[in-house]
């Protein structure tokens, strides 16, 4: 590696990426200075991009819609490696020990696992069901003991893969978990995996401490599919919102955020909100939960007060509020406002805007602090 004498000495703990959807580029930003440091181009179709970080927080791995997997060097402001590993992909995860990158694919349906260092293929796991059909894979997360967990959208299954021996992936399949799991989350302690169901009521829960007990259905009678409002955008569970003893999840086909008790797995409250929630994310200390919405309410953000479980505030950041990311200790939240071509930074205490950065059609903000969190 060439040593760049001109480079400013820089640590990566303050850094992050803003994804620019249509340009297929990413901005490296400094979260303390609120400024752009560099733009990395030619990253392909980033219409549904997500990002994970290496454990040393030097590298960012971007998963593109077109199956692209790009490794960015945040210290040298450059694209380190890029492969196109599938036709159509939806997200990914980094292993507990940081050595493996797993990608979940729509076509061909399955999971591919790569060396985090070289991006060479380590394991290819087709999501086969019903004698050779391939299912789209969603809700891929890392889990303790060098495992990955994911859901099969078409098959209605949840699989875990143990990669302790990379040459011999150990797969465990849980079948009939429910119709059309559309995304999954893992709690921050790495114990519970929860898949949201699109085709029927409730959520599928897997206790990774006791996988032999199988899948438990929670909130089984909450919303019947035929009572649902139309869903114009699939909600995400990725930014799990576990705050206090509660898990906050988007209701599907209802303008509500559901609050579930983590001990009993019962519904504590359904909080009415402005629209179909898309991301429901807890501030790192769990005091607030922030929610954005599907079209046509995608100009709004709402803040839930976790102490009272009531809405605290409604903000209108602009046109097409697509994603948000908290600073590591939660004093700020960065909000991607696609159609206004900017990212806004709010103070989460005063709820006032404190900075904004130009970005072309931004649809995601990801900070290096994700490197140290299970499920991110």
């Amino acid at each position: 590696m060439a040593f760049n004498v001109q480079a400013e000495l820089r640590a990566t703990g303050d850094l992050g990426l803003i994804i620019e959807r249509e340009a297929g580029s990413a901005l490296i930003i400094d979260t303390t200075e609120h400024k752009q440091l560099a733009r990395i181009d030619k990253l392909g179709d980033l219409s549904h991009a997500s990002v994970v970080f290496s454990r040393d927080q030097r590298f960012a791995y971007i998963f593109g819609r077109d199956g692209g997997l790009s490794k960015i060097d945040l210290l040298q402001d450059k694209l380190d490696k890029r492969i196109v590993q599938a036709g159509n992909s939806i997200g990914g995860a980094i292993s507990q020990d940081g050595t493996l990158i797993a990608v979940s694919n729509y076509t061909p349906g399955g999971v591919k696992i790569f060396s985090a260092d070289t991006l060479e293929l380590v394991a290819d796991i087709p999501a086969d069901y019903d004698n050779g059909k391939l299912s789209k894979v969603v809700g891929l997360v890392d889990a303790p003991d060098q495992r990955f967990v994911f859901s099969l959208f078409d098959a209605g299954e949840i699989w875990t893969i143990d990669m302790s021996a990379p040459k011999k992936p150990k797969i465990e399949k849980f079948k009939n978990v429910g119709k059309f799991p559309y995304d999954g989350l893992i709690t921050s302690d790495g114990r519970f995996y929860i898949a949201g169901l699109f085709g029927e009521s409730g959520l599928a829960l897997l206790d990774l401490w006791e996988p032999e007990k199988g899948i438990k259905r929670i909130l089984p009678d909450y919303v019947k599919p035929d009572e649902q409002l139309p869903i114009y955008k699939m909600p995400h569970l990725e930014g799990w919102a576990v705050a206090d003893d509660y898990i906050f999840v988007p209701a599907i086909g209802k303008n509500e955020v559901l609050v579930i008790d983590k001990q009993s797995w019962k519904l504590v409250k359904a909080i009415p909100v402005a629209g179909q929630p898309v991301f429901v994310m807890a501030r790192p200390d769990g005091r607030q939960v922030w929610v954005n919405f599907a079209t046509p309410e995608n100009n709004k953000l709402q803040v839930i007060d976790v102490k009272t479980l009531n809405l605290q505030s409604t903000l209108t950041p602009g046109h097409a509020v697509l994603h948000m990311e908290f600073t590591p200790r939660g004093e700020n939240v960065w909000v991607a406002v696609r159609d206004d071509d900017q990212v806004l930074v709010y103070d989460t205490h005063t709820l006032k805007e404190i900075a904004h950065l130009p970005a072309q059609k931004p649809n995601g903000v990801f900070f290096t602090s994700r490197a140290n969190k299970i499920g991110f």
Binding site: D45, Y106, K136
Partner: protein, 101 residues
Amino acid sequence: MKKTLLLLCISLNCLAAEPTSVRQAELRHLLKNDCGACHGLTLKGGMGPALLPDNLQGKPDEFLINTILQGRKGTAMPPWKAFMNTDDALWLVRQLRKVPQ
């Protein structure tokens, strides 16, 4: 091309009116962003199937217009009738049938 237009005229009784250019811009935006969320920014597919000309070949306009306006029950395809009328949907289908630039 002429032939498909002619067929269209017969099947929709030539009642279809082109959306205004402002409306077309709105629909293009909707197609890229809202439809794109499921069908992909470049319409090559995602959670929903690809909507490229090849994928739609042999599927009549009415069928596709109906899918767009009413959605498909039991699948993730939602109804868009709250956001557009038949003319808009027909215009979208015609856009989809064009080879993307």
